[in-house]
């Protein structure tokens, strides 16, 4: 990995990409959004378990590390979601069908993306983490706030970016949202 050469232009271009992405999703332009992902997309939402702190690491940061709580793709546990391009295509197609009853009438969303931190720039890919808040309001239900971190691999394609890998770390203790089957 080459040393990260972080320039205002690089930071700005990544932030702009995320703002456009959020705008498309909030505007329900999922078909346009779907052009922002690669065909080898991996989209992971780890599940988050409540485990006691690690006694053996007493006094160290590892004692309470977040990673211990995540059941992702490499774990023996079960992530909430581990999807590729085809599953995501089904979700996009579903959004435009009459009988997607939980989204008809459609829910309202507003995404705020921040703390965009470029961790690595490896020629054709960037590793980027960002935080998000998503307000979600489904008719006939309460309003909900999803909070979390996205751990992305962005690929440089045609002078822009595409999402090749996204891991969504949701900050819930108990899931009392109507669904986590959304585009985060």
């Amino acid at each position: 990995m080459s040393a990260l050469s972080l320039t205002p232009e690089l930071q700005l271009s990544v932030e702009q990409f995320y703002y456009q992405e959020a705008r498309m999703l909030d505007s329900r332009q999922y078909q346009q959004w779907f052009a922002l992902v690669t065909e080898d997309l991996r989209y992971i939402v780890p599940s988050r378990v409540n485990v006691m702190v690690n006694n053996r690491e007493r006094g160290n940061e590892d004692m309470i590390s977040i990673e211990r709580e995540l059941e992702g793709t490499d774990s023996d546990g079960c992530p909430l979601r581990e999807e590729g391009y085809l599953q995501m295509m089904i979700r996009v197609e579903r959004a435009y069908k009459m009988n997607s009853w939980s989204e008809n009438p459609p829910a309202r969303t507003r995404r705020l993306v921040s703390n965009v931190e470029i961790l690595a720039d490896e020629e054709d890919v960037l590793k980027v983490i960002s935080n998000f808040h998503m307000h979600y309001a489904r008719p006939g239900n309460d309003n909900y706030l999803y909070a979390g971190q996205r751990r992305d691999t962005l690929r440089r394609v045609d002078g822009g970016y595409k999402i090749a890998h996204r891991e969504v770390v949701l900050d819930y203790a108990n899931i009392d949202y109507p669904t986590v089957g959304l585009f985060f």
């Binding site: 599940s47 059941e71 023996d76 079960c78 992530p79 939980s102 108990n174 009392d176 109507p178």
Partner: protein
């Protein structure tokens, strides 16, 4: 209670009152008559392999610790300190030598015995610790690695309780030489619904599929259910739906796991594994059950199973209008790790809190509660009469059997439920 239980469900259970779903007095009767008198699923042996391994569970709203003791036995204790009642086990799962209450540090073994009262060093008297352990669940039994607990010390054995439902459960569980294992911790989420509707949904209601899930389930999948689907009720409260495929069905159309997204997108290695498993099915579960391609099951009162997605689920009530829903992916225990990781996505793609089908289910379950929880409509109970008396004994299959559109599974459930509530009604 302003009404009698007999007013809630009519004789043949074709009419079910809105109050069954919403009334807090009914819920109190359910705790006594249903959850106090049944076998309730706690966990699977694959979750507690080593001494000290534990998982949390619930029996209705009562928190339970299911643990493997130092003697390798399995114990089910109520998770509440004998001193001030706090939960002594604070993690979803793990491995422990002791459970320590945070308040005054009374500590218990994983078997539930009280071992330390730190305060007693400063006092003259010594409480009798043998009388102060965690309360044990009165009955604990297992079948095929599935542990169930009951608050009713006089309840029939678990095997008798499951009865002929075992025939249908074995059709899945016995297919795999090494048995099945539960994949990690359950997914748990809260739905503003009554606990009985998720249960009813999988007890036999595959008929909602082509309507509620039409955006995702293809018409040919529904046609297969119309052509070959059956709904069996071995005894009231249990239920199984499945397709009984013709004898000449190609292996890919009958093998477990082949029809779900993880497998469809999976590698050739996965497909070969599923075909090889099906090739042994006749020898393992017999020619009839080898042709079974399951849909959904229910075990009274609140355990469900999805065959193709290989998921067990429990509907834990949290009052009349709230459910804490738990679901697990299960995989063949002896499958290679890479195949297990593919097979678990048969569940996550469609079910669980992020599942593309489940999001529709959760929505209608909560809307049904909303649609029940108001006044001035009690003269319009819900109609449960579809297919009344059309179910019949089957020459080869246990239970009463008919097409899946017949709501006999739900009538049978509500008959048992009504009788269970009447038995504890004052």
């Amino acid at each position: 209670m302003p009404f009698k239980v007999s007013e809630l469900v009519n004789d043949d259970a074709t009419l079910v009152s809105r109050r069954c779903w919403t009334d807090s007095d009914v819920y109190e009767l359910e705790k006594k008559g249903v959850f106090g008198k049944s076998w309730l699923f706690l966990g699977h042996e694959s979750q507690i392999k080593q001494p000290g391994d534990f998982v949390q569970a619930y029996m209705c709203e009562t928190p339970i610790i299911l643990a493997r003791g130092s003697d390798n036995g399995v114990y089910a204790s109520i998770n509440s300190c004998t001193h001030r009642g706090l939960p002594v086990c604070r993690a979803d799962h793990g491995n422990a030598k002791r459970f320590v209450c945070p308040y005054h540090n009374w500590s218990y073994t994983v078997e539930g015995d009280l071992v330390t009262i730190p305060q007693e060093r400063e006092l003259q008297s010594r409480p009798d610790k043998s009388q102060l352990g965690l309360k044990q669940v009165p009955r604990l039994e297992s079948w095929r690695g599935f542990y169930f607990g009951s608050f009713d010390k006089d309840i029939v054995s678990l095997e008798d309780y499951l009865g002929d439902q075992r025939f249908y459960l074995e059709a899945f569980l016995d297919r795999f030489e090494g048995g099945i294992e539960f994949v990690g911790a359950p997914h748990r989420w809260v739905i503003d619904a009554n606990w009985k509707l998720p249960m009813e949904n999988q007890l036999g209601d595959v008929n909602h599929g082509p309507f509620l899930h039409a955006a995702v389930i293809p018409p040919e999948a529904n046609q297969e259910i119309i052509d070959h689907g059956l709904s069996a009720v071995t005894e009231p409260g249990h239920g199984a739906t499945f397709r009984l495929m013709p004898e000449d069905t190609p292996v890919d159309n009958v093998a477990w796991g082949m029809e779900t997204p993880g497998s469809i997108l999976g590698s050739a290695e996965v497909h070969e594994y599923l075909r090889a498993t099906q090739a042994k099915a006749e020898e393992r579960v017999g020619p009839l059950r080898a042709r079974m391609k399951g849909l959904t099951y229910g075990v009274y009162p609140n355990l469900s199973f999805l065959w193709s997605n290989a998921s067990f689920k429990v509907s834990h009530p949290r009052g009349p209008g709230k459910v804490e829903y738990w679901s697990w992916s299960v995989v063949p225990a002896d499958a290679p790790d890479s195949i297990k990781k593919t097979l678990r996505t048969n569940y996550t793609s469609l079910f669980g809190p992020g599942g593309i089908l489940e999001q529709e289910d959760s929505e209608v379950w909560s809307q049904q509660f909303r649609g029940s929880n108001f006044d001035f409509a009690d003269d319009r109970p819900y109609f449960y009469g579809l297919g009344l008396n059309e179910e019949k004994p089957h020459p080869d299959l246990p239970g009463m059997v008919d097409v899946t559109a017949n709501e006999h599974y739900a009538r049978a459930f509500f008959t048992r439920w009504r009788d269970a509530l009447q038995a504890v009604e004052e």
